[in-house]
């Protein structure tokens, strides 16, 4: 196998392994749009990184974390519904990013690669970002698992029972920001949410416990990466979108299989 293929696979698996377990919470908490909003701000991060003369990846992470914090704080006010707020943020961030990149005339950015991902161009440095960024995410997720799960079922009940609800929610939002920022390379800004949502949704049918669903979502995400890459080689299709299509096929297949036990 070629080097670039191995790197693509290693990068894709690094993202899918973490996006699955994190994605189940995104599904349970109905936060699909939240991941989208964060992803849309990534271009702004690229521009920021360029202006500051730092690694664009660092700029993306910074902007995603900042936006996540801002959203977490703004959700406390009740004047605007969360989805309206997210819509404003997401599209403003995307537009601002496009405007900023156009203003920075000296910078040439491969827009398509950012929007749809460029998994076959993953460099060794990108691999460091992906694994170095995502492994801590997985560790933190395990640490906050109990309070986050309790808060997902009923926030106030968990709070009365003494769970650190606010800290867990804040940590969770920052974890999503982190994963979105590094997953951009694999499937691109427009498709990131699919890696969080689709494997998790596909896993629901077969899961008996929250942990089982998280593990299965990680596994199905990895399968989608493998299948998508293979299809991309076989039929010369764009890699990122092929991964998403593969994930959706897994979801559909899972629902087509008759189940032995209900739920």
């Amino acid at each position: 196998m070629d080097d670039f293929l191995l790197r693509a696979l290693a990068g894709g698996l690094g993202v899918a392994l973490v996006a699955g377990p994190l994605g189940v919470f995104v599904v349970w908490r109905r936060m699909a749009y939240f991941g989208d909003a964060l992803a849309h701000s990534a271009l702004l991060g690229v521009a920021l990184g360029t202006v500051l003369g730092i690694d664009p990846q660092l700029g993306v992470i910074a902007i995603c974390l900042l936006l996540a914090l801002a959203l977490a704080l703004l959700q406390r006010q009740r004047r605007l519904a969360t989805d309206t707020l997210l819509g404003i943020f997401a599209h403003t961030a995307l537009s601002l990013g496009l405007v900023a990149l156009a203003v920075l005339e000296t910078v040439r950015v491969d827009l398509v690669a950012y929007l749809f991902g460029d998994i076959l161009a993953i460099s060794p440095v990108d691999l460091y970002w992906i694994w170095g960024g995502n492994l801590p995410v997985l560790v933190v997720l395990m640490l906050i698992w109990r309070p986050l799960l309790a808060a997902t079922v009923h926030e106030e009940l968990a709070q009365v029972e003494g769970a650190p609800v606010f800290r867990a929610r804040l940590a969770f939002i920052l974890l999503i920001a982190m994963v979105v920022a590094v997953a951009m390379k694999v499937v691109g800004i427009l498709l990131i949410t699919s890696l969080l949502i689709i494997p998790a949704a596909a896993a629901r049918r077969f899961a008996r416990s929250p942990e089982g669903m998280a593990a299965l979502a990680g596994g199905l995400g990895c399968a989608a990466i493998g299948a998508g890459l293979w299809a991309s080689l076989r039929w010369d299709t764009p890699a990122g979108p092929s991964v998403v299509v593969a994930a959706t096929l897994l979801f559909v297949l899972g629902h087509a299989i008759p189940s032995r036990s209900p739920r």
Binding site: R30, R146, V153, Q159, V160, E161, A201, P210
Partner: protein, 251 residues
Amino acid sequence: MSAELLLTVANVSLTIGGNSILREVSLQVASSEIVALIGPNGAGKSTLARIALGLLRPDRGQVWRKPGLRLGYVPQRLTVDATLPLTVQRFVTLGAPATRAHIQAGLAEVGAASIIDSPVQAISGGEMQRALLARALLREPDLLVLDEPVQGVDVSGQYELYDLISNIKKRRGCGILMVSHELHLVMAATDHVLCLNRHVCCSGHPDHVARDPAYLELFGLDGARRLAVYHHHHNHRHDLHGAVVAGETNA
């Protein structure tokens, strides 16, 4: 067992968005005591319960909880997203870790041992209330706060649940603060009633409150008459169910 003070709420007021939700409300709960908060919708009952739990901070007034107080809470209505695979056993342990034998015993105490392996989305409203109660009891609470614990439960189930709550108090000696919107339901189980309509209209022993002019004004003669029906049929539970169902429409 001598009664020990668990919770004191003193002269608490709360205003949200210019609306006065609670005005100068005071409340005490001791061990081995059931205190019921009754009042019409929007009277601030749940708000007061949430202040007692420490989930809300009042604008004015003091809240004191016995140091180290262990709280059990049964919130009003809980639905778990269908995408979350969760059995009753797992749900019950979200509040405190416990062994299966322990959980089994806890569910048996509330009469729900058979649902231990059911998905939480597949159980009825009454079973969910029992599961919530079991979850609260597994924490060995000193004070139980129940927000409309019989909501969405049919009438015979409601009386069973109140019996259960009253037994829990007797067996465990914990204090119980209970929100309900009707006096006639909580009457038999309750030691002390607080009739709330943003301020405390009247309070005291259930019999006393039932005759209080402030109560009669708040709930109208209809409510009072139903209470009379309740008293009359006190020993004939089956007759009672029919009578209460007939009067339930304008609760």
